[in-house]
Subunit: 755 residues, 2 copies
């Protein structure tokens, strides 16, 4: 075949045709894109006919034709410039002599194909001679605009805070010795307090601005500085201060809240015991009211009933102690009491014994300790009495009759802490992703025979999967948590129960995501990732415990699932419950009959990228898992199986439901957010992130969808392929996406994140 | 219903009937077991008829009947003793008054049901009143027998070595400061050398016993003492000593091997460079032969072409340096040269510059460093010349013509190191599993309303999944690696290529398994797992890098897949290759037509537990993935796509194939081993471990099997349920299985592993 007969109009399409046919990138959707570009082009009909003749999947061009294209390209001697925004378009125009200078405007039709087919360097890098320019080129998206979208209404607070972190006191350094690390972190906490950051969530009269969402934003950004600092900050202002704010009343606020926000009163949150972590209701510490002295006596009954892992325990003057409150011989359930544990000179109060928890996997800048109480007496007023009180006659009173409900109401006010933990986890994941991605954007390894320059590791498909999927997840979770913290801050007690269910699922889902992501980042950086100087190692060790504290993930997922089941029906054991189940069962099976092949086999890009498809899939899964759990529970109950045994029997089912619920919820929130983005170009990017998130999660649970006949085998394969393809399509925007996290330069200290 | 009318013969079956119907545990296979027990019992026909009438899945007993059983049991006031070997049998006999004393022999038919249905405490714990006895009871299997099976022919070596580790020098302690940690580890290495452990793999004339498999067993056991020690030991004797042994010839052995085994000569293995880790062939260090002085000059050309992460770099006198060997202006490819880097006083030799790599995520007892060479001259004899030499005339000679083949032959001799890394990973996983399981066997959390005693966390299904699946994997991988090290030690150069492919897949698979397992163990121990004193944290950080060093897992999986493809056909680009593909394609699609519903829908326990089913499933997957990869490659090649681009296009496909191959291979080896176990009772246990391994992996890849129509949705669900059920069935043997690892008491220092 004589290649020289092609017109310039045809020639400019040759590199595109070569790339798509060399890698079988064409499906019906892609061909439509290609044909549309050709249609819109100012070509002669003969030229269009010729090009279209090469766009029939049923009769692809022959291998000879494809090989002749390769020769045509190879003989041209033209190099493809890797860092251009539209490298293939630019290359094509040079090849067809329609572009000579660098400045010339490129062809809109070719650009249309390039962007819509997501053709990227790893599709063609070794098909052409490639020229690598060191200057960073493609920045289709402005990272600052992305960052502004993420910061939302907190922009001024967060911008100021990031600048504040440039203070040398916050410069990250390797810290191996807890005895020097802890005082430094304490000093950092005091500096933050002095600048007003500790009190942000408190009311103005206590030195704050009453802005919990902004506080949570600050909290996330602290992870860019250091994990230990983040957690110590959270213990002092969020847990200790938060317990006074949320469980106490005005007298407590007046007495302690301002000095807590200023870090003049240091406090800890003494809930967990050595033998009781997840089962808080079963804690053993007692708080016995003594009428004679009008005081409450705190006591640790057994040797292993001490408080444990209590952050700030070695620096604190005060502790909020959770204990079984006994009034006139009656156990009124778990309550919180403020207890002084050190005097003004820092000496332990009589009856208080504290031991260092010693070295931990991470967070060694936080002073975790064990606390024992031996008949420690505090005034009655120290009972945080918002939900239960002892009056001056020594009588216990509460507006909430059920001890169970009272307990959960108290815990519910602390849900903000779980949101912060999840936000911190996202912050840690972002930091690790930014370091790993920056490394992958300059690290090269392996080359083909004829080339000097090795490939960027970011251009390996496995590397894209490992880093770009979590980048998409980080965006979804960021937006989700922004919504949750707003919901939480504005929630009534009635709606708080729902928020609690949601946060339980999300905290588990997101901290697990963060850990897996940081691990991928470590491995993605090879030996460099293993060096402490590159930060990922510390992030890994610090974030690890996020899966456990503020609620063990396994327990939280079951809690979330039980919340979903409760929402499903509040008539759990009533007669009509059976009817309800029958109705839903019928709806689900009706729905099943509508799983017609047109849906289950639909592998069109338009369908696979449709948010309605994703939402429908996630909701179907949650609904079906809820229905089957409820049905199982009903069968057990009818046979007289006790509740705890039922919980055991369906435990793994509940965990699956809890995860599915978290995935659905975060996608619902994120796609709602995307719909409200006004800038169309930005909306396009965010929608693509959401699509990657959704298809990744459907793919992760593909066996379940396949088992239920919700998708066909072909559709499952198509989804997997789309996940890989979407990573590649997002590849040119990785630099913008990680810069969009807004991590300040003074925090990006990892040597490998530079060049 | 008047429950008193039941005869004693019927009554003893009531608890069993209640348990199985309360949790829908019956499938056809299970019913057959139950019926068989009843059939064999000395009951009246009327009694048998009655019991069998309750064993029809189509017409289950009414809820009223089931509830009446509950009352019968509840009113008896009899308690179930949790720690008995057959708790339900014992309970049933007491209920039916067929057993009064503790000593009486229990009913064989009931025991038959209990063991074969795998009825365990988490199926019934809250159905009965439970009495918990502190003394450990059930030990159906003797842990020492299990340990002996695992140790195999190395038993005397390993027993002696474990005893040796009781030396206080090896007692594990928290080490935060590298400047004190490293000298301690060095001292430990020297102590091991003095006892002859370093030289075990070397020949007798060099102080060893020529036993590489026993050396690898020692190496794994070292992980029970400390990760840093294990790696430093491996660098000195395995990598440095191994390079002299395998790449050198007699003159090198005579000169260095004995003193290396005695740790009198300390050495390091300088292969990796800052810019070249995975792509070793592309390293930049040069070794130029200078005829005038008959010497070789080692040089680091660029600032970032230094050796990096070199273990033992700060203590070593010698280094095996990998460099591009240039003789008479020709680059003969990568070769290894022994270079003196420190003089007798420990001062760096002229031209050698070494820097500490600093703190790492883990392994801080290992002195990793960076090394630069500035025209460092060594005698020609220092070239390790087994595969390529410079003769006295200054001419390069090699028996292997192809530089490529020569390079891979050299690397192939170092495959033993990869096996050791995988063995170390298994050792780390075992240690973490032992700690987490021991904790789960005494840690309790949550109770039902009426009970004082909380549930053991080991009795939660999610906890069983998280710990018992990896226990099964640890057994499979232990046996697999024992086989691999024997194969390696006895392999010829011809068979070594195959071993290399196998080890590449297994090293990646097993180090990944170990990391995920240790992470699960950390989380399974909650806050306790986060404390350094409990060992899991250090194991996590030490084992983390096993995924990277001795070959990055992502790269190794591709290497393995390429090996599988090469095996598939050595006629890769020949004409007959197309014919071969057609033939295999036809075989696979023929096979597909035999995916008749009887197979794809078969959910019988006998079928799901059949090793032939597992092997068939794993082999089908490997064959199909190989076939589709080969077909894709052929299509690309026909279109003239260059090899490096083909590699990029099919990269994720190859990674999937590499993993599938490793899973298949390890199961093949393990099931062969199980077939050869003579003790039937032990064989039963090991077969169950293998079944859990197999079903877990089929389940993990269920979406793929479903996509290909290999299993139906129902079968996929049945497999998932069997995985959970198998964990429960193995639950009573967990203590024996982890004690079967043989971790010496003096190494089990984690406080939580005691009580």
């Amino acid at each position: 075949m004589n290649t020289e007969k092609y017109t310039s109009g045809i020639t400019k399409y040759i590199p595109f045709l070569y790339v798509v046919w060399a890698d079988d990138l064409l499906t019906a959707s892609e061909i439509a894109v290609f044909r549309k570009a050709v249609q819109n082009d100012m070509l002669a009909e003969e030229e269009k006919r010729k090009i279209n003749s090469w766009l029939r999947p049923g009769t692809p061009p022959s291998d000879t034709t494809i090989t002749s294209w390769k020769q045509l390209i190879g003989q041209s001697g033209i190099k493809l410039v890797e860092r251009e925004t539209y490298p293939l378009t630019s290359f094509s125009m040079k090849l067809s002599h329609t572009r000579d200078s660098e400045e010339e405007i490129s062809d809109e039709n070719l650009k249309f194909i390039e962007i819509n087919l997501g053709i990227q360097p790893n599709h063609y890098r070794h098909l052409f001679e490639v020229e690598t320019r060191k200057s960073s080129g493609a920045d289709f998206y402005d990272a600052r605009k992305i960052d502004t979208l993420l910061k939302g209404e907190h922009t001024p607070h967060i911008d100021a805070f990031r600048e504040f972190l440039s203070d040398p006191l916050f410069r990250w350094e390797i810290s191996r010795d807890k005895d020097s690390f802890r005082p430094r972190v304490l000093e950092q906490v005091k500096r933050l307090a002095a600048a007003g950051y500790g009190a942000m969530a408190y009311d103005r009269e206590y030195g704050g601005i009453g802005n919990m969402p902004a506080y949570a934003g600050i909290f996330e950004n602290l992870m860019f500085a250091d994990g230990s600092l983040t957690i110590k900050f959270g213990v002092q202002f969020g847990l200790f201060g938060g317990s006074i704010q949320n469980l106490g009343t005005k007298k407590h606020h007046d007495r302690w809240l301002k000095s807590t926000g200023e870090a003049k009163t240091l406090g800890c949150f003494a809930m967990t015991e050595t033998r009781h972590g997840s089962n808080v209701r079963g804690i053993k510490t007692t708080a016995t009211y003594i009428a004679d002295t009008d005081s409450i006596v705190i006591d640790t009954p057994g040797e292993n009933d001490n408080k444990e892992y209590i952050g700030n325990a070695l620096h604190s003057e005060m502790a909020t102690v959770f204990a079984q409150l006994i009034v006139n011989g009656t156990n009124e359930g778990v309550h919180a009491i403020v207890v002084r544990i050190r005097d003004d000179k820092g000496q332990l109060m009589p009856g208080v014994h504290i031991e260092d928890n010693g070295y931990k996997l991470g967070l060694n800048g936080v002073d975790n300790g064990k606390i024992w109480f031996r008949n420690v007496s505090v005034p009655r007023e120290n009972l945080l009495n918002r939900f239960g009180d002892i009056d001056q006659n020594g009588t216990y009173t509460s507006a909430i009759d059920s001890p169970n409900k009272r307990f959960f109401t108290m815990l519910g006010t602390l849900v903000g802490g779980r949101i912060c933990v999840a936000k911190g986890a996202v912050g840690g994941a972002k930091m690790a992703l930014a370091i790993a991605a920056k490394y992958a954007l300059h690290r090269r390894q392996f080359n083909s025979g004829g080339k000097i320059q090795e490939d960027l590791i970011m251009d390996y498909p496995s590397h894209q999967l490992r880093l770009i999927v979590p980048v998409a997840q980080s965006y979804v979770y960021h937006i989700t948590l922004e919504q949750m913290i707003r919901d939480y801050a504005s929630s009534s007690e009635a709606s708080r129960r729902k928020t609690e269910t949601q946060v339980a699922a999300l905290k588990a889902l997101i901290t697990d995501f963060a850990n897996k992501t940081i691990q991928e980042c470590r491995e993605a950086c090879g030996g460099k990732g293993y060096l402490l100087e590159n930060r990922i190692a510390d992030l890994k060790n610090d974030v690890d415990i996020f899966t456990t504290f503020e609620g063990d993930n396994t327990v939280l997922l079951q809690l979330a699932a039980k919340g979903v089941l409760t929402d499903f029906t509040s008539e759990f054991n009533s007669d009509s419950y059976g009817d309800l189940l029958k109705l839903v069962g019928k709806q689900l099976s009706d729905r099943l009959t509508t799983f017609n092949p047109l849906f289950t086999n639909n592998t069109d890009k338009e369908h696979l990228f449709d948010p309605d498809f994703h939402l429908e899939a996630f909701r179907y899964r949650v609904r079906r898992l809820t229905f089957s759990a409820a049905s199982r529970i009903r069968r057990y109950v009818k046979k007289g199986v006790p509740p705890q045994q039922v919980s055991l029997n369906i435990q793994t089912h509940l965990i699956t439901l809890g995860k599915a619920y978290g995935v659905m919820l975060s996608y619902e929130i994120f796609s709602g957010f995307v719909n409200r983005i006004e800038d169309e170009k930005m909306q396009f990017l965010f929608r693509k992130l959401g699509t990657l998130y959704a298809l990744h999660h459907i793919h992760a649970d593909a066996s379940w969808y396949l088992e239920h006949g919700y998708i066909s085998g072909n559709k499952s394969k198509a989804i997997r392929q789309r996940v890989e393809r979407l990573c590649t399509e997002l590849r040119p925007h990785v630099a913008s996406l990680i810069d969009g996290y807004g991590i300040p330069e003074h925090c990006m200290t990892a040597p490998i994140s530079g060049k």
